[in-house]
């Protein structure tokens, strides 16, 4: 708060004195190296990608390259895979983020209790975060093979005898279960981030609120609904925004587990673009899909920021 106050104070002065100007310059100069690096690895490639989407350009025939206007987008609009991957991307991203947020909230509430070895459990919950995504994917590949641990456990629980599932159900190679399985793996990998953020938000809620609510005879649920949730709203929004964007763009897990198959059942827009670009060499087409993703990310960000402003107030 005080930082923003002092931040605005010099700007209101009619004339910039030399000292202020010097501090401005220092601020810019300190920021400059990072900005140059980010321009080189993020912003310029992003614009380059937009330009490439108007070109016909094959990775395998680098000589022939030409401007084709909106052709790539026209092909894309006619591609039946576009609509399919569009909805599957949302299924993947929102399914993962919803589960991660629920699990993150539940574990944050648990770890905020006065439990034994609290520090130990708070560290433990971060384990999935440390495992590299590509390796976590392989780990889940192992768990969900037809003879994997999951099927063994389900059989032990008697689900096979009840006829609910097949004894050797291949989770990842059946189009009906491939996406839910990937969402499950992604949830495991991603929920600790939510736990950490939610736990920090929980700890910053003043204890008096709960005491006051208790005196007023509020139930646990009422305290959660009327104190915890509203206080955490900004954190919940920002975390789910970042989670949605990261998941929407993530490829590692799907690349390793299914590469978009079987029968395109786990193909997301990002995977679709990657396959087109580096699998088939259709750089122009892949860039056009990339631009579609970019536009979607912009829309999500704007919607979330609008929501954030309302919650903050």
């Amino acid at each position: 708060m005080s930082a923003t106050m002092t931040a605005r104070a010099p700007a209101r002065r009619p004339m910039l004195d030399r000292r202020t100007l010097k501090r401005w310059m220092a601020g810019y100069l300190f920021l400059l190296p990072a900005m140059i690096c980010l321009a080189v690895v993020s912003f310029v490639p992003m614009f380059q990608g937009i330009v490439t989407s108007f070109e016909n350009f094959s990775l395998f025939r680098p000589g022939q390259r030409g401007f084709v206007g909106l052709d790539q987008y026209r092909y894309l609009a006619e591609d039946p895979l576009l609509a399919r991957t569009f909805w599957q991307s949302w299924y993947f991203a929102l399914g993962s983020v919803a589960l991660q947020a629920i699990l993150g909230m539940a574990s944050a509430l648990l770890l905020n209790q006065n439990i034994w070895f609290r520090g130990f459990f708070r560290g433990l919950v971060l384990i999935p975060w440390v495992v590299p995504g590509a390796l976590a994917a392989m780990m889940f590949g192992l768990l969900f093979t037809s003879t994997g641990l999951v099927n063994t456990l389900l059989a032990d629980l008697g689900l096979v005898d009840l006829g609910l599932i097949n004894a050797a159900h291949p989770w990842l190679s059946d189009p009906r279960t491939s996406m839910p399985t990937i969402i499950m793996a992604n949830t495991w990998k991603g929920f600790p981030f939510f736990t950490v953020m939610f736990l920090a938000a929980l700890q910053s809620i003043p204890k008096d609120y709960y005491e006051a609510a208790m005196i007023d005879g509020a139930s646990n649920w009422q305290s959660f609904r009327h104190i915890t949730l509203p206080s955490m709203a900004p954190t919940i929004l920002i975390t789910t925004l970042l989670g949605t964007i990261w998941t929407f763009n993530s490829i590692d897990l799907i690349y390793i587990l299914t590469s978009g198959g079987p029968y395109y059942s786990t193909m997301t827009l990002a995977m679709f673009s990657y396959n087109q670009g580096f699998g088939r060499g259709n750089i122009g087409y892949a860039s056009a899909i990339g631009v579609v993703i970019l536009a979607l990310m912009a829309i999500i960000t704007i919607v979330y920021l609008a929501a954030y402003r309302r919650v903050e107030r």
Binding site: A7, R23, W24, A26, Y28, F30, L31, P33, A34, M35, C37, L38, V40, V41, S42, F43, P45, M46, Q48, G49, T52, A106, L110, Q113, I115, L124, I127, V130, V131, P132, G133, A134, L135, A136, M138, M139, L142, L143, G148, L149, W188, V196, M197, A201, S204, I215, T235, L242, N249, I251, I256, A286, S287, I289, I293, L294, M297, A298, I300, E312
Partner: protein
């Protein structure tokens, strides 16, 4: 007035309530905690135990138990004998190490700028840094690939080190900004009154004071770079340049998956990360949430 009368009574009531409710409630809490622990640990434990089983034992349907009949180090030995695993390890270490040092240095300046200086367009510039998190990798990976091809940087460490800055710099900047904000401002002001320039204050006061934060940031960016897969698999094709994640992914055969070997590979490449992480996880939580929660 009424508060004063009711307060002790409620306190007594809650105390009485607690005596009855606490155990049942805590039993539920520990029960759920056990479930959470199991869900987190089980996949990795399964993998860890699997790495000590012989391939034959793993292939057998009946051996899907936590019990290892004949514990063996065969998988670990094969990892280094049949594959160039030591090389993958070295590649990952070099790439992640250089990325971490470079990104942390650049971000230290940027983080300090955002934490302390005031200038026109500051909120826009800090938003721009956050915005890089919204840019899909898929939109930048193709142009980067073409540039690296043109500069003959494909199949070199440089391609990875350069590309990794795309995620390392925003992350480090944000983290360091949080650490720098926690240093009492008075120390810097005193230094400036004593005639130290901005750069002098930064190097002599700010950096030494935030040494733990700097080390933590260094380690986190190292972990992030170590975990990366997509850039690495796209920008390298030679076997001797594979990083750990790519090398292990490449171990999956076309038809038969040698799970024992894969398990051992995942264990060897994850355990160092976990050890590093254990040292610094407190700082991560502090740094990540410093700006985010307090707003």
């Amino acid at each position: 007035m009424s508060m004063r009368i009711t307060a002790p009574r409620t306190a007594a009531m809650t105390a009485a309530k607690h005596r009855v409710r606490l155990p049942a409630r805590m039993v539920l809490v520990y029960f759920l905690l056990a479930g959470l622990t199991l869900a987190i640990v089980m996949p990795f434990l399964w993998l860890f135990l699997g790495s000590f089983k012989s391939s034959f034992e793993l292939m057998q349907n009946q051996s899907q138990t936590l019990w290892i009949k004949n514990p063996t180090l065969e998988n670990y030995q094969r990892l280094f004998r049949e594959y160039d695993f030591a090389r993958y390890f070295l590649n990952s270490t070099i790439v992640a190490g250089v990325t971490a040092v470079f990104a942390t240095s650049v971000s230290a300046f940027a983080g300090y700028s955002l934490a302390r200086f005031t200038f026109a367009g500051k909120s826009f510039l800090s938003f721009l840094i956050l915005l890089t998190q919204m840019i899909p990798v898929i939109a930048t990976i193709i142009p980067l690939y073409l540039w690296f091809q043109w500069l003959h940087l494909l199949d070199t460490y440089w391609a990875l080190i350069i590309a990794y800055n795309a995620f390392a710099i925003p992350f480090c900047t944000w983290l360091l900004r949080g650490f720098f904000m926690e240093i009492p401002k008075e120390l810097e002001e005193a230094a400036e009154i004593d005639g130290a320039g901005q750069l002098g204050t930064f190097f002599r006061i700010v950096l030494p004071l935030s040494l733990p934060g700097l080390v933590a940031t260094l380690i986190f960016s190292f972990i992030l770079a170590w975990q990366e897969f997509l850039f690495a698999v796209t920008f390298t094709s030679k076997a001797e340049l594979r990083t750990l994640t790519v090398g292990i992914a490449a171990m999956r055969g076309r038809d038969i998956v040698d799970w024992g070997l894969l398990n051992a590979g995942v264990v060897v490449s994850t355990v160092p990360l976990a050890v590093l992480f254990a040292f610094v996880q407190r700082y991560l939580v502090k740094g990540l949430t410093a700006g985010a929660v307090k707003g």
